[in-house]
């Protein structure tokens, strides 16, 4: 589904922060992306999310060379990828329901057509009673679940999560992990970027370990 071949990345004229990355992410797979702070986890996630272009190498996503994509083509491809931010990035003037429905609105879907689906998903992530709440009144865990719901509402083939448990307590972190596992079971490939060893020990999954810009894969 995703293929990196000898990918390198540098910012401006600085040193390469990612070097010779060669790996695959298969459909329906589950993997943790880990490594010490500054190892390049967020940079790799941004490459995976088409928010950066590699300075060298080949990135193929969904059988397309990403270097050949136009800006609109990248936007369209991004719809096949869900992204969960560590800081949630919910829009404060929109209710939980509206935030979660946003990816469907931007692709031009009619509200009547997605309403039951959004409500059902919100119930599934335990936000059934918080549908009309604005983000500022949600707890950290609720915000993270709303962000996850927004990332998966358009049924992406790949879900990327950047430190999804970074702002929540360990108990909540375990429950969020359970949510990701359930999403993976429903057919979504999942990549969780984290340096939370305890979280990774909770679930036996493939590990992509970044160290000094190089990637080591532990199947």
């Amino acid at each position: 589904m995703i293929r990196f071949e000898n990918v390198g990345l540098r910012y401006g004229l600085g040193p390469e922060v990612l070097r010779d990355l060669t790996f695959r992410i298969d459909a329906n797979s589950f993997q943790f992306l880990t490594g010490p702070s500054g190892a390049g986890k967020t940079s790799l996630l941004r490459l995976l999310f088409l928010a950066l272009r590699p300075t060298r190498g080949l990135v193929t996503m969904f059988d397309q060379d990403t270097a050949t994509l136009s800006k609109d083509g990248r936007a369209t491809m991004r719809r096949r990828i869900g992204l969960v931010f560590q800081d949630f990035r919910l829009l404060d003037h929109m209710t939980t329901y509206e935030n979660v429905a946003l990816p469907l609105r931007v692709i031009g879907k009619d509200e009547a057509s997605y309403r039951p689906e959004v409500v059902e998903l919100l119930h599934w992530v335990g936000l059934g009673e918080r549908i009309g709440a604005l983000p500022p009144v949600l707890s950290g865990g609720e915000k993270q679940r709303a962000a996850i719901a927004r990332a998966v509402i358009a049924r992406p083939q790949l879900l990327l999560a950047d430190e999804p448990t970074g702002n929540v307590d360990p108990n909540l972190g375990q429950r969020l992990l359970r949510l990701f596992i359930e999403l993976n079971k429903s057919g979504t490939a999942v990549v969780i970027a984290t340096h939370d060893i305890a979280l990774m020990d909770e679930f036996d999954a493939r590990r992509l370990v970044l160290h000094e810009g190089r990637l080591h894969v532990y199947e």
Binding site: L91, L102, S139, R150, R155, G187
Partner: protein
């Protein structure tokens, strides 16, 4: 997972342990993606309203100057004066009467009014005082000739006839005065248009900076829309529509207030018409009406402000999006 299949809800992974207070409000439907109200957006609305008001006032004032100058020129241009100088040995009343007859006999003349001795005394009374006997002073007498609107009488022929039959008379067609008036009106119009141009330029700049300020706080929204797969044109369209409406609203408030003000001035002029003050004002400032053209110009400015606001917002969004891969 196929993108065409509905999302399959698995066994509930969440058991509502948070015990969060229930907010049982139903989904309220699709809210505007761009926040409707914020301090920056309200400030932008106020800036658009104020600048549209000022631009409309300037436009109206410039149009009033043009209209008044045109009225003055027209009024002065439709009148000529024959001046009959007193001369020893000549009967000035007969000369005045003869000059008036010559004027009446010229084609294109609508009305001839020879000022009587008493009327002439009244004319100079403000300067020389009452109870004056003009016989003691060599003050010329006037024959005021009003022209038919649009007609161009043969002044040269009239001037020759006067020279032959009333040598003490001379014809003043006010050409020099009209030329000075035309120059002055032209200068006033150029000054008005310059001020209008400056106000419009300041308006565009103010709206541009205010729009950029309002857009800056919306950057996180632009980023989120980008990350959930919105195309650049979709994002720009959302902001453009929002700011077009905002510009229309601000412009309507500012331009509407200006229209109301000009309407009130026009109504006040009509109310005071016939009074000494009203007549003085009418003589000096003309009809005090910007007319249909003026109101249309203000309406056009309202639309122009909204368009400028919308285009600047689109440009700013596009620039913001260009910085996001």
């Amino acid at each position: 997972m196929s993108t065409s299949e509905p999302l399959k809800v698995m066994a509930e992974p969440w058991d509502e342990l948070d015990g969060a207070p229930a907010l049982s409000r139903a989904p309220r439907g699709a809210a505007s993606i761009v926040p409707k109200s914020s301090i920056a957006v309200r400030s932008l609305g106020a800036v658009v309203a104020i600048m549209t008001f000022l631009a409309s006032l300037t436009t109206g004032a410039a149009m009033l100057v043009v209209s008044t100058a045109s009225t003055w020129q027209s009024e002065v241009g439709r009148e000529i004066t024959i001046q009959v100088r007193p001369q020893p040995g000549r009967n000035i009343d007969a000369d005045v009467s003869k000059a008036a007859d010559l004027a009446r006999g010229t084609a294109g003349i609508a009305e001839v009014q020879a000022y009587s001795k008493q009327q002439s005394e009244q004319l100079v009374e403000p300067w020389l005082g009452a109870g004056l006997h003009l016989d003691d002073l060599p003050i010329p007498r006037l024959v005021v000739v009003k022209l038919v609107r649009g007609a161009t009488p043969d002044f040269a022929a009239l001037r020759n006839a006067l020279a032959a039959q009333v040598p003490t008379a001379n014809l003043d067609d006010h050409r020099g005065w009209i030329e000075r008036m035309r120059t002055m009106a032209g200068a006033a119009v150029i000054a008005g248009l310059t001020v209008l141009g400056l106000v419009l330029a300041v308006t565009v700049l103010s709206v541009t900076f205010a729009t950029r300020g309002a857009m800056a706080i919306n950057r996180p929204i632009i980023e989120v829309m980008h990350y959930v797969g919105a195309t650049d044109s979709f994002v720009a369209g959302q902001f453009q529509r929002h700011f077009l409406l905002l510009g229309l609203k601000g412009g309507a408030i500012g331009g509407g207030t200006a229209i109301l003000l000009f309407g009130c001035v026009e109504a006040a002029r009509a109310w005071f018409a016939g009074t000494p003050g009203g007549d003085e004002a009418a003589a000096l400032f003309g009809s005090l009406s910007i007319g249909v053209d003026g109101y249309l110009a203000i309406a056009a400015q309202i639309i122009a402000m909204a368009v400028v606001t919308a285009l600047v917002s689109r440009y700013t969004v596009s620039r913001t999006l260009a910085t996001i891969e």
